[in-house]
Subunit: 235 residues, 2 copies
DNA sequence: CGGATTCTTGACGAGAATCAAGAGTTGTGG
DNA sequence: CCACAACTCTTGATTCTCGTCAAGAATCCG
């Protein structure tokens, strides 16, 4: 975990869209960036661990992270992917002296902007909007989780898979010659849909046979999303 | 929905334990109580509806409420019970101009203390701790939900039922001659465990046969919690 | 006593997890 | 450039949990 403190602005990719930052006025964004540490992260690196004291707020700039919770028996509960622009470690601000609620681990090579406890306290005083932005992020997280919970309780494996495809396409898909390309392995899709690798493969194969998608190793191409939106039907 | 504005203190039962209020200093509690409206609620009454503008914060004083989310297809996703002392409508404060995230409906006759939007704004200014208390409540809610999600994904129906019994005993159970009495119907237990009425009945019957519990109409008596804690095993 | 509510049990089936075995890719080093 | 290892994907057979449906018993209440 190497730190760089120079060229923060350069570290912020042009196209970075962050609902979190967008909630803040320009001068607060500048204040944030000024006191941020830019840190590179590598795959499998744990960025925060549930139960540990929450002492840093951070923003994913590039790469992808996996948010999950562990249980005593060693099983893990996948919650969601974190994409560039997403903010984490919100407990650091929201609940004063707190502990992280979830574990987050990098999936790909990437980089984050981080603020330690002292920086957070200073920022909260100087940026009146920051608290609101954090609250917003937390409640969106909550809203989202209720949704996923509903999906798992009330929809079939097939519907969940279709929905995961649609969402993944929106979040990490980019246009290619044959359609929207999504760089996910079957295993990752299965994880997000809360299905075993096998049921995921089965449905994906079926859709491939019918021509709804094309598959390559670690990559899926969707000519059109609408059939999957139809399958996922209800929210 | 009849309002009474007198005798607020009298309306607050002696034994009311509220993690929400306990997070506040005495003078802020007084300020809260002073501007509160006490409202009686009846079974099946909807206290807030998801999607509607969040314009009141409220505290359950007596009775029990059911928190759930509806889906387009009409199905509903039970989230949890609300017990006396629990605070709701937190979106009113946390996300400024917001909409309720969940629907809440009274299960029993009961009463609530409510604050409208104007009162909330005034209180936030006068009570510095209030914001923190609300944030705490929200994140506890989130923590809780992750937990329930995990329970539904990683535990069997039997384990979930056992866990629901243990938790219900703690929340709404009271000691009786034969053990802890829990005033829940099979249907409600099934709801909380995210199981059909039939599987719930089956396991409860089994436990009755083995002598782990006694059943009456709408009421269950648990001589001891430990066997159920064992069955629920992991968190 | 009737009627409504709540609980019980059984038979059946659908959905998805599990397990086993192998095929297809990709990358590496000799 | 080939051979090998590691990873990823595929398919089938099997099992099991739990939901669904039907029918009826027990309990409570006016």
């Amino acid at each position: 975990m190497r730190r760089k403190n120079t060229g923060i602005i350069a570290a912020l990719p042009r196209g970075l869209k962050s609902a979190f930052l967008d909630a803040l006025p320009p001068f607060e964004i500048r204040a944030l960036l000024k006191s941020a540490n830019c840190i590179r992260v590598s795959p499998r690196q744990v960025l925060q661990q549930e139960g540990e004291p929450a002492n840093r707020l951070w923003l994913l700039v590039t790469g992808r992270v996996s948010v999950y919770r562990l249980r005593r028996d060693g099983e893990s509960l996948f919650l969601r992917w974190g994409m560039p622009g997403d903010a984490f470690g919100l407990a650091t601000i929201v609940r004063a002296p707190a502990r992280y609620l979830v574990t987050i681990e990098a999936v790909e090579e990437g980089s984050i902007l981080a603020w330690d406890l002292a920086a957070c306290e200073a920022l909260v005083l100087r940026c009146p909007t920051l608290g609101k932005a954090v609250n917003w992020a937390v409640s969106k997280y909550l809203d989202n989780l209720i949704d996923i919970f509903g999906m798992c309780q009330l929809q079939t494996a097939e519907e969940r898979l279709a929905r995961v495809l649609v969402e993944s396409a929106g979040q990490l898909g980019h246009s290619g010659p044959e359609g929207i390309e999504v760089g996910l392995k079957n295993e990752e899709i299965a994880l997000a849909a809360h299905v075993t690798l096998f049921t995921a493969t089965r449905h994906l194969s079926k859709w491939k046979r019918v021509g709804l998608l094309k598959k390559y190793r670690g990559r899926i191409v969707l000519p059109s999303l609408s059939p999957f939106q139809t399958i996922a039907s209800d929210l």
